[in-house]
Amino acid sequence: MAQGWLQIALFLAVLIALVKPVGLYMARVFEGRRVFLTPLVGPIERTTYRVLRVRPDEGQDWKAYARSLVVFSLLFWIALYLILRTQGIQPFNPQGFGSGPWDLSFNTTSSFVTNTNWQYYGGETTVTYFAQMAGLAVQNFVSAAVGIAVVVALIRGIAARSGSQLGNFWQDLVRTLLYVLVPVSVVGALFLVSQGVIQNLDHSQVIHTLGGGRQVLAQGPVASQEVIKELGTNGGGFFNVNSAYPFENPSGLTNFVELLLILVIPAALTYTYGRMVGSQRQGWAIFAAMSVLFLAGVVVVYLAEQHGSPAQHAAGLHTAAFDGSTGGNMVGKEQRFGIADSSLWTAVTTVTSCGAVNAAFESLTGLGGAVPFVNLGLGEVVFGGVGAGLYSMLLYVLLAVFIGGLMVGRTPEYLGKKIGAREIKLVSLGVLFTPLTVLLSAGIASAAPAAKQSIYAGVNPSGLSETLYAYLSQANNNGSAWAGYTGFVQPHAPGNVGAYGLTFTDLLGGVVLIGARFVPILLVLAVAGALAGKRVSPAGLGTMRTDNPTFVFLLIGIVILVGALTFFPAILLGPVSNGLTSRLF
């Protein structure tokens, strides 16, 4: 295992090294300052404002900011739905796919507009190249930029010295795209192609194999989508088996780079935060809390997966590693990633809301599989989605300040601003909305006869895990799956002829997706608005510090208390039941 730990340590070292330069760069971008790309991108930026009729310097209060965001997302929802419904008449459709069922389109549209990328469909068998490029991949950019815009607005609210302005939504959107997401994607996509990720518009290729068989190789513009799927913590695979498929993720190196792409923005935003509120220590404190929770997950998955599963042991298979063999639970894992890289990926994509997979989650061991559950249960605040992770974590920071304030008997104060009744009400709603949505929807789906067809594993802990995970993932806008669970049946694949959606599952999921994305966003912006106008009082001797280890400890405690305890009973009945027994079901 030493080699595996070394890889994990190297990954962390590179990530930490990137936090400062990337964080600093993003701070300059959000503050509207000059960066090294300005000579190249500046003219494009100004043209974009002119075409969109935006006055970038016009400040917006939280309501105006929220209105722009909601209108923008709503129109894009309609546009994506139309694209998915008109597949039959689109260009770049060499396979001649028609549209999928409407209820599936509803779910998929809601999923991509909310940065979730939950997928009931398999990309290579149902979606045209045009819909992949102009529909789904566009959302990968745009929904990520929306998440980042919200956190920037919140940071401005916290940092503001006066007034009610949170910046301009359109400017934040355009600058995030032009200076951060697009440049990295261009470079990243070409790198991925150089390593073997495909990028073409050809018809699938029929091969007469060496062994005398026939194999059809699906093709497509994969690299351009793969890179933003990781960078924007979206996670929706071009192929059904996502980043386990060699055309999406061909080697240990691409795996490493893709993992960095997933984590770099959420991690670096903590530095951006410190910069913009004028205290780098505040950013590092949040980074430290996130890292502790992340590392705990990595260690548990890796140990559990290396141990192997009860089914393997019952079959008489020896799972110890020896020279030339990884050992461990290789069910649903790729040889080139082995146990260590699959485990690291599992932890990275579930703390962030990326949702890409390079191994089959449903085949993880009981305890290894409990980690994705706990990570999602924590509410995607451990790095989390781009923007979404930090704004959700900042709600927890405010909650921790409030609880800490009660402990020491002083008015809670964060960065010199008093946290009043209104703020704490909004924060509580923001913290509790997603968990409540999960429990409610998973409860309904477990009990409803209409959802029975969605479950693959049957009535046992794995079946409950599927249902619970489906709604955890959709409500937290993650998108990874206990993949047995489905809302789409495709009997004569590929193509959509004869395919049908499971309406109840698709619609419930779609509503959960939208609610659990936009309600918290509105609450966060309301908090930002409430904080923006507050006077700053100088820190005194009795002020509770929020940049030292004690506070980091308090923050971790509260995240675990609220997030994980909400789901403890449910997780016990699912993956932990599998992990605690060697019984087979």
Binding site: V51, Q199, A218, A360, P494
Partner: protein, 195 residues
């Protein structure tokens, strides 16, 4: 409100055109010029005929070939899905048990020292993608006995070919080493073709 609607509408059109058409087509254009082999799927040829992609595994039967890992999809490369066997499932136990018995029955006649505890996990478990192009080095070393005997090649020659077609860790550090089954079998065909 009306201004928001207009700006949003324009943004939907402009961003869809820029990010959804110009960006992917530009990447496709550059990729096709600079990395044409990779962009089209890293094809493997034998005697000028395309026999597959080096990144996508294939199913091999018969004793003269190295065999790939078990697959939930039958090595489908146009309809992919996970096996989704749970860690405590009876079906998973039964399928691994059957794979293990079949592996031993196939390889033991050629490698007398082979025992159950020496069978590497990858040889009897289904991969994630269903098209895993690699097997572990231990798995290839065991199969080398059979392939060498059936093809009438010296064992060390076959082991040499295995070593030639082992993809090490990226940069010597990242991922796990694996033997590329298709490329190895192509090399075998070039060295000692089946009649």
């Amino acid at each position: 409100m009306r201004r928001d609607l207009l700006t949003a509408l324009l943004a939907v059109v402009v961003l869809t055109a820029a990010l959804g058409v110009v960006y992917p087509l530009a990447i496709t254009g550059i990729a096709q010029v600079v990395f044409p082999g990779q962009a089209d799927g890293s094809q493997v040829k034998l005697d000028g005929r395309v026999v597959g992609s080096k990144l996508i595994g294939q199913e091999f039967k018969g004793k003269a070939y190295f065999h790939s890992r078990p697959s939930a999809t039958g090595y489908s490369a146009d309809v992919t899905f996970f096996g989704n066997a749970g860690p405590n499932s009876v079906e998973l136990r039964d399928s691994i048990r059957a794979n293990l018995a079949a592996y031993l029955a196939l390889e033991r006649p050629y490698d007398r020292s082979l025992t159950r505890d020496r069978v590497p996990v990858d040889a009897v478990t289904e991969s994630a993608s269903g098209v895993d192009p690699h097997i572990s080095e231990a798995n290839a070393r065991i199969q080398a006995h059979r392939v060498a005997a059936v093809r009438g090649l010296p064992l060390d020659r076959v082991e040499g070919l295995v070593a030639d077609h082992t993809d090490g860790r990226s940069l010597g550090l990242l991922g796990e080493p694996g033997v590329n089954v298709l490329q190895l079998n192509v090399a075998l065909e070039e060295e000692a073709p089946l009649k």
